[in-house]
Symmetry: C2
Subunit: 658 residues, 2 copies
Amino acid sequence: MFEIKAKDSRGRVGVLKTNHGNIKTPALMPVIHPRKQVIDVKKYGADIVITNAYLIYKDEDLKEEAIQKGLHELINFDGPIMTDSGSFQLSVYGDVDITNKEVIEFQELIKTDIGTSLDIPTAPYVDREKAENDLKITIERSKEAIEYKNENNFQMKLNSVVQGSTFLDLRAKCGDELASLDSDLYPIGAVVPLMESYNYGDLVDVVMTSVNHLPDSKARHLMGAGHPMVFALAVAMGCDLFDSAAYILYAEDDRFLTTRGTYKLENLNEMPCSCEVCMNYTPDDLRDMEKDKRRDLIAQHNLFASFAEIKLIRQAIYEGSLMELVEERCRVHPNLLDACRKLGVYSKDLEQYDPRVKKSAFFYTGSESLNRPEIKRHLDKLRDLDKKRDLVILPSSKKPYSKYIGGKLGEFYIYGSEMELDLDNTDFMVLDIPFGLIPVDLDDVYPLGQNESPKIEDFDSLNFVEDIMSEFVEYYSQTLIHSKIIKKFDVGLYNIHSDSDKIRFKKDDIRKIKSIADYQFGPESGEALFTGDISLEKSKKTGKIRHIYSDGKLIANMRAADSFFVLSTEGAKRLHNSSESPKNRVIVNKDSEPFTKEGKSVFSKFVVNCDKNIRSNDEVLLVNEDDELLAYGKSLLSYNEIMDFKIGQAIKNRKGIK
Amino acid sequence: MFEIKAKDSRGRVGVLKTNHGNIKTPALMPVIHPRKQVIDVKKYGADIVITNAYLIYKDEDLKEEAIQKGLHELINFDGPIMTDSGSFQLSVYGDVDITNKEVIEFQELIKTDIGTSLDIPTAPYVDREKAENDLKITIERSKEAIEYKNENNFQMKLNSVVQGSTFLDLRAKCGDELASLDSDLYPIGAVVPLMESYNYGDLVDVVMTSVNHLPDSKARHLMGAGHPMVFALAVAMGCDLFDSAAYILYAEDDRFLTTRGTYKLENLNEMPCSCEVCMNYTPDDLRDMEKDKRRDLIAQHNLFASFAEIKLIRQAIYEGSLMELVEERCRVHPNLLDACRKLGVYSKDLEQYDPRVKKSAFFYTGSESLNRPEIKRHLDKLRDLDKKRDLVILPSSKKPYSKYIGGKLGEFYIYGSEMELDLDNTDFMVLDIPFGLIPVDLDDVYPLGQNESPKIEDFDSLNFVEDIMSEFVEYYSQTLIHSKIIKKFDVGLYNIHSDSDKIRFKKDDIRKIKSIADYQFGPESGEALFTGDISLEKSKKTGKIRHIYSDGKLIANMRAADSFFVLSTEGAKRLHNSSESPKNRVIVNKDSEPFTKEGKSVFSKFVVNCDKNIRSNDEVLLVNEDDELLAYGKSLLSYNEIMDFKIGQAIKNRKGIK
C-alpha cells in the first residue's frame, strides 16, 4: 500500500494507498474531534485525517451513529481516515474500558481506513522493568490484532506501534518483532514527552533506532508530532506521517505554530507569516476578538503553516536539498541543533538511503554539514580506490580545480623520506572543505564539483579536512604537500622536496575517464571499460567529455550535470565481463527475465538479490540468477529498499540486451 | 522625520514621517512602473512605493500628466512615494538627458514625498581612479541638491546616496561628507551587482562601513535590495528601507522569491509557502496558465513572501531575536553564511547599538553566534571588574549554576605556583559555552543565565572558551581549575592543589548583589550602593532577591526576568555620589531641567552629553551640567543614538528628584 516516488537523505515522497484514495507523503493528518470539529481541514491541505475510535466508542450516541452511518459520514470527511485506539487515554488515565480485540473489531465496524491496536505508550525515562513489561503487552496486542484481522478478513489497514520508552535496545527489539508481523503501517509511539521537554537529541536516538529496525516498504508515523518545527528533521529520519492536534490545542491557548517555533499572541507585534489569516488580521485585531473566533483563526494559521512546511519538505526531497532544510530548521532552538548534531551519529544509516546524485548542489550550512552522508560516502570510496606510489596534495581553488592547476605549482613539503619524483605514479588531490581530498580527475563528479561552502572557515571543518589528510598520507610512500597547506595547518613538516619545482599536473583525458569509472563502478572498472583505441567526443560549447568510444564503438556517455557515466550496451557488457556478481548488479528472477530483456522496468518484487552498494540514481547491470546480462538501467531505490519492497518499480531499464 | 521605536542588534523598528503619512520601518517599497503597473501593491502590505522620476520626465505624456495631476494621482497611490532620479539609467546607458538641478526641480514639481539627486552608481571592483572621480561628482550633486532645495524651500525630503564602489575608505569618506549635509535619508547605492553575484561578504563590508559613517537619526535605504533572503541581514546592519522591482522582474521570469532563495517554476513540484497564491494553485496550474496571468500570480506571491519577511523581522526586533533570525536566514546559501561570519568582524560596531536586555533568551545557533555583541560585551565587562587574588574555574552545569554548586567540588589543578587557599579572596567562575567565564554570583543576570546552546559542542566554541580561560588565568595569582575541565581541554596542568578538597563555594547574598551592581554600573558601585545595615526581601515563590534595603531604606529592586537592578531614589543618590560625571549619567540642558525633575521623559534634543557606555534598557542617572541629580530612568537608546537624534524620546524617566 506504500510506494516511493522521490528520495533524499532518509526522507521519501511516497504514495499511501487506501480504500478512500491515495495520500501523498510526507503527510500531516489533522486530528478531528468527532463532536466538536468546526474547521474543515480539507481546505487547508489535509488529504487524510485521524480521529479517536475509543472516544467514539465511549459515547453512546456517537457510537450508534458511527456504526449506522460509518465513520466517514460521522465526521463528514470523505478521504482516508486513521483511527487511534485509546492508547493515549490509557497512558493518561491508566486504564480503558475496552479490550484490544474489541477496539479492533469496533474500528472495522465503523469502517476506518487504518486502525490501531491497543498499544501501551510507555513514557520516556521510566525504569527498565516497566518498559519491558509494557512492551511485551504492546507486541502481544499487535500480534493479536493482526491475527484477528486476518482471521476475520477485515478490510481496514492496521497500525503496529513501536514502543520501548527511551531504551534503544527495546525500541530495536520492538521494531524487529513488529517488522516480522508485516503490519500495514508503523507508528512510533510515546515520543510526545520528548518533544514537549525539548529533548530532541533523545528523540533522534529513539526515532533512528526504531526506523532502522522497521521495514522500508511501510509508511512510518511519528505519533503526536504536530509542530512544523520538527517535520523536516523527522522526515530526514524516515518518518512519513504526522498527526496534529497541535493546530487546535495551540490555538486554544493563543499560540501560533511556525517553523521558527511557537509565538504567543500576547507577544506578537506583527503576524508571523504570509497566510490568509496573517495577511488579513493584526495581532490587535485578534486580541480584540471573541475567544472562539480568534481560536478558529489561529487554528487556520496553524494549519496553513503546517501544510506549507509539508509541501516545502516534499519540494526539498524532489530537489535533493532536504538536509539543507533540516540544518536550517534546526537553528531555531539549540536543542534542535543538538538533535541535528546527534543525527550525525547515524550518518552511516542515512548513507544507505541517500541518492547518489541530486538535482541540487551540496550547500555547507555549518559544521553539522560535515556529517552528511555524501561526505562519508566519498571518503569510503576514496579509501577503496587503488593508490599510486605518491600523493600530491594541492590547496583548493575555484571549481573546477583542474582549470586552475597548471604550470609550476610552487613548493611542496615531504611527508615520508624523500624519494625521486615519479609523476606517472602519483595521485593528485585537492584539499578542500567539506569533502577533504578530491582527486583532481574527479573535480566535476557529483557532489565533488557541485558544492559550496563559505570563504570564512570554521574550526570544525578545518580539523575535519586536516584529519582526512593525516589519514591519507599514510596510504602512500611519499606525500608532497603544497606549502600553502603547510602554512595553514602547521602539520610539522620541514623538508621541501628538492625537485618541488618539477611537480606538474598533466591533464590526461584517458586517465580522467578511468578514474571516474573506478569511482563510479569500483576499482579496475576504468581499465575494463576503456580498453583498445579510445576516442572522445567533447561538447563544442563547454569542452566537456560527452561520448567515449573504444575501437569506434560507443562505451559510455558522460552526463553533463554530474560527470557520471551512462553506459552503452557495449559498456554494460564490458563492465559485466570484468566483475563478479553481485557487483553493480541487480539480479532478477526467472519470471521477469523476458520483460527485462525487452527493456521493461524492473519491479522490486522480481529482484532476487543485488549489490549492497547500490543507491538510487546508480547505473546498474540487470542480470539473471546465472549472471547473464539482461539489460542495464538506473536504480530508483537503494539496496535496502529494493530488497524490502514488494510493490513498485526498483530499476528504470535503459536498454534490454537481446 | 525618523524615530526609533524598538531596537535589536543594529536593527531598528522606526517610524518615517512624510507628508502622505507615516511608514513603519523596516519597510519594503515596491517599484511601481508609471505606465505598466497592474498590481495594487497596497493590498500586499506596501505603505510606501518607489517610482522613477526620470522615466516620467522622459515620456512627454507621463510628464505632462504628472505635472498637472501630481505623482500620486499619476500612479494612483495615495501613500508616500519615493522617486529615483535616473541614476540607474545613467549607470546602464552611461548618460542621461537631464541635469541634477533639473531632476530635483522636476521631482518637487510632481510632488514626490522623497526625491533623489542624480548620483553616479559606481560598480563594485572598478579601478580606484574611476571610483574617486565618480564619488566626487556624487557628493557635489548631493550638496547642490540640498542647497537648491533649501534655497527654493522645496517641500519634498531628499535622499543623498552613498557611493564609493568596493573601496571601503571611499564609502567611509562619502558617508562622512553626506552626513555633514544633513540630508533626510541615506540610500546606500550600487550594491546590486554584489547581490547578483552572491558576493555577500563584500556586501557586509560595504554596508557596515557606510552605515558606520552615517547618522543614526536618519533612515538608510539599501538600494535595489528586493530579495527577502537578504532583508534580515541588511536590517541587522542598520538598513531601514528596501525597494523591490524583484517581485515583478522575477515573476516575469517565472521565479518565486522566498527567504530560502529563489525557486524556478520549472523546478517546482510543490508550491513554496502558505500565501493565497501557493494555497490556491499548484505548479502545474501555473505552468498551464497564460503568461500574463501567471506572472501576476507569481508577483503576488513574491509580494506576500517579501512583506511577510519584513513583518517577521520587525517581530524579531521587538522580541530581541534578530541575530537568531539572521543566522537562520544566512544558512540558505554558503555565501550568505560567509556574510554572516563576516559580520563578526563588526561585532564592536553592533555592540554599540545592541540593547542591554532583551525579551528573548540568547540562542546559540552555530559558531557564528560566538561573534554576537552580547558575548563581546560580557567579556569586556569581565575584564573591567576588580579581581580577587585567586580564581576558581568550575565546569558548567544546568542553569542557574549556583543551584548545582555545593559541598565538595572535586579536584582542582593549579595554574601558577601553589599558594595556600584564601577562599574569601577568590573569584568563582563557571566555564561555559558561549559566554566563556561566568562569575557564579552573576549566574542569573541577563544574558548569562538566559542562554541556551546544544549539548553536542563544536570546536569553534570549545576553542573560544579555552582562549578565554587562557586569558583570564593571567589576571590572577593562582587559578584553580576543576579536573573535569582539565580532562576536556588538555591545557597541560599536572599539579593538583593539596587542599583541593577544601575548596567550597559559599553562597553570600551581599557579595552577590554587590557583584551584580559592579557588573551593571561599574566597579565599586556595589560598595557604594549597599553600605550600612543591608536587608533583603526575597520572593516567597522563587526565593529570588526582590528588594534591597539599607538601614531600612529601599536602595534597589532586582528585576525577576534579568536580575538587573532598578534603583530607588536613595539608590540613585548613592550611585550618583560615588562616581564622577558622566559615568552612568545622561546630562540634560538647562531648559529641560524642570521637566526632568518633574519626572517627564527626556527627549534626545535636550541631552548635552552622556556616558559612552550607555545602551538601550540601561538604568541611568539624569543630571544637569553641574552634575546635580535631577532624576533617574531607563535609556531607550544607545549613546550614539541619544547624541545624534534631534527628535524623539531618549530616556524614560522613572522618577524626578525634587
